[in-house]
Amino acid sequence: MRRRASAGFLLWLAVTAPAGADGDVPRQGEYLFRAAGCAGCHTDTDNQGAPLAGGRALHTPFGVFYTSNITPDPDTGIGRWSENDFVRALREGISPRGEHYYPAFPYTSYTQLSDADLHAMWTWLRGLKPVRQVNKPHALPWYLRWRATLNVWKWMFFDPGPYQPQADKPPAWNRGAYLANAVTHCAECHTPRNLLGGLKRSRWLAGNRDGVDDAKIPNITPDRKTGIGRWSESDIAAYLETGMTPDGDFAGDAMAEVIDNSTSHLSADDRRAIAIYIKSLPAVEQAIRKEKKKKSEQDEFL
C-alpha cells in the first residue's frame, strides 16, 4: 500500500517544524518544501520509511533510483552540508563531493528556485530531526553508472539559473509559471522525454506515456481534444485543491499524492496562479492513452 503514511507525515510536519524562531523564514521554507513535493520522493512510504530519510524506489525507463536521506543526520543524511552545498545541489545538480546528480532528482526544475526561497527551504530543513538511514545505491545499467557522462547530458538538456519573470506578463502569470516550473515541477512528469531523457520542450506539459512506475501521464495543455482545454481556470484551481475534475471524477495514483502532499496546501491565490499559467500554455495535440488492449491479445503473451 503506497503513500499510506502521508497523513502521518503531515502530523509529523506539524510537530517537528520549528515554530518560527527567526520570523517567517522557516514557515516559508516549510510551505515551499511541501509545494515542491520533496517528501513524496524522499520518503519510502511503501515500507513505512521515516519521513525524508529516503529509500523510495523510483522505477524509470533508465533504471531504478533510490532516493536519498535529506534529514540533518551527519553520517547518513545532509547534516554536514553547508547552505552553499544545498544551493549547489538544487541549482546546479552537483553534490558536495562534486559529483553530478542524475536528473531523477528534478534539479532541472529546482534550478529555477529563487535565492530567497532556497534560503527559506534550507533554514526549515536544518531544523528537522535527524534520522539515521544509509542510502541505497541506484540499480542502473552499466552504461549509466559513470556519472561523468551526466556532464554531457547537462550540457544538452539543463539550463541552470533562477526563474526570470517575463516583463510582458502579469504578476499572477509569473507567479504561476514560477510555481509550476520551479517548485511543483509539473513538467518532470507531464512533459514527454526524448531517448536520452531530456524534456521535449516543444511538447511542454503535453503528457508522457512512459512515466515513473509505468504511469501514463495526461496532457495538461489547453488542447480541447487531448488536453484539458475544456477546463476553466476555476476547474484547474479546484482540482489542485480537492482532486475533483469537472466530470466529478477524483484524482488517483501519483496525482492524488501530489494534491494531498503539495497543491492542497498552497494558498488559493497560488493555486489560481498555476491555473492561469496552465491555461496560457500553447495547446499541443497529443493523445496519451494507448490502444485498448483486448483480452485475447493479452492471453497470447501469457
Binding site: 466530470d247 477524483f250 488492449k293
Partner: protein, 153 residues
C-alpha cells in the same frame, strides 16, 4: 425422416444455448469492467452535479437530495463491482483491489458511510454541514483512487 429426431435435438440444443447467457453463463470480464466504469461515471456525474449546487455555481437546490440519494444507491456496494477475474484488460484498477481486499473494502465502506452522512446533511439543509460532508465524500473518493487506481493505462 430419419433426421428429424436429430434435428429436433439440435433445435432444442440451440434453444438451450440461447438461454444460457441469460442464466448459467458467467459474465464476461470485459462486460463487468465496462459496467463498473459506467457506474463510476454515474457516480462522477452526480458528484459533479451535486458539487455545482453545493458550491453555489448553479441554483438547483431542490435537486440536491436526488443527487445525494442516487450517490447513496450507487455506492451501497462498491466492492461488488470489482469481481474476481475482472482485474485485467482495459481497467485502471490496481492488483491491490484484489490482493489487499480488506483494505480496499474498508475504503469502499468509508465512501458509502461518507455519502450517507452527506445525504443526511442535505436533508438537514444546513449549508455548512452540507459543504463539509460533501468535501468528505470527495476526500474518500480520492483516498481510494490514490491507493487502488492506476494512472491512465
Amino acid at each position: 425422416m430419419i433426421i428429424s429426431p436429430l434435428r429436433s435435438l439440435l433445435a432444442t440444443g440451440s434453444l438451450l444455448a440461447m438461454l444460457v447467457p441469460l442464466s448459467l453463463h458467467a459474465a464476461e470480464p470485459e462486460d463487468i469492467i465496462k459496467y463498473r466504469q459506467n457506474v463510476m461515471k454515474a457516480v462522477g456525474g452526480h458528484t459533479s452535479a451535486a458539487g455545482a449546487i453545493v458550491q453555489g455555481k448553479v441554483e438547483y437546490k431542490s435537486d440536491l437530495l436526488e443527487h445525494a440519494r442516487s450517490l447513496q444507491a450507487l455506492t451501497r456496494n462498491i466492492p461488488a463491482l470489482f469481481q474476481k477475474d475482472s482485474d485485467f484488460g482495459d481497467t485502471k484498477a490496481r492488483d491491490e483491489v484484489w490482493s489487499k481486499r480488506a483494505d480496499f473494502e474498508k475504503r469502499a465502506n468509508d465512501t458509502k458511510a461518507k455519502v450517507e452522512v452527506f445525504a443526511k446533511a442535505v436533508q438537514s439543509s444546513n449549508q455548512q454541514t452540507i459543504a463539509a460532508s460533501f468535501k468528505d465524500v470527495g476526500e474518500s473518493c480520492k483516498a481510494c483512487h490514490k491507493d487502488f487506481r492506476k494512472e491512465d493505462k
